[in-house]
Symmetry: C2
Subunit: 156 residues, 2 copies
Amino acid sequence: MGTQLTVSEVAHRSGFAASALRYYEKEGLISSRRTGGGQRRYERPVLRRLAFIRAARNVGLTLEEIRAELEQLPEGRTPNKADWGQISKDWRHRLDDQITALEALRDGLQSCIGCGCLSLKSCAMSNPGDIVGAAESARGAMFLPPLLRRQSDGER
Amino acid sequence: MGTQLTVSEVAHRSGFAASALRYYEKEGLISSRRTGGGQRRYERPVLRRLAFIRAARNVGLTLEEIRAELEQLPEGRTPNKADWGQISKDWRHRLDDQITALEALRDGLQSCIGCGCLSLKSCAMSNPGDIVGAAESARGAMFLPPLLRRQSDGER
DNA sequence: TTTAAAGTTGAAGTCAGCTTTAAGTCAAGC
DNA sequence: GCTTGACTTAAAGCTGACTTCAACTTTAAA
């Protein structure tokens, strides 16, 4: 137990399944060194990187988007305090947009309670171009995240 | 053009692709009669049913959940005003839960701006059991909907 | 030294919600 | 009656983010 962590240690401490760690490595989100026999050994900073990945997933970014964000940081390092200030600002906007979209949908629903129409032409809830279109125009709110799926699975 | 609608007419008027209509029929969400030659012919109420399906999809229900809701209505009819009152109330709660979860996430992010830590142990954003756990406990908020994906595709 | 746990790989499987394809049939206007 | 476009089916393909599998190797403790 020096500064090197095995895959199961990282899995346990990060909450990601070992198979997910392998997948993330294949996708270029994290990296590892190898022992003589070919087994993975991780440096500690991978834990911060994984924390970042989890936070980003919670906010609804795809792995590709996360990879791009990580890559964009100077020298591929884990975000520091300054980077994090900018990133968290962007993410907050994403979340705000998502919240706005959901509120618009909820309010449209509210207005439907009295009418019960669900007309394809006039009802806000089912009309593609109305509530939904307005919400969509809040960019970045194109989809909402599969938040909170199984979160500490620990392989098998 | 009597009261019978062809699949392409329904596709055009509902905004769903014809292939989606066939899929929904196979999954038991809608039904149709057939001509002598085996082609589908729809009654008008299918349009209301499809409006309901679209609204439910917007709120984040799965097709299985929608199927169950439709089935639960007496005689498999399209929801009337009274049904709709109850249903829209349930949906509003779903949306409220989703909004609450996103707000919690946003506020956790806000609290992170000052620290830049992203520690697996203490940071609210990446800690599975903190923000995310709290949000999760608002039942029904287990996942957020893939809201607003392509919405008027029109087959091919 | 032995043995069991933990690790490795590529390939295939999973889920939802469709779309696409292939190969053919039906409906309708001229 | 013929052509053309609309329609039919089952089956396969697609996306993203993984998981599972099979078959094998490495590591570490006893």
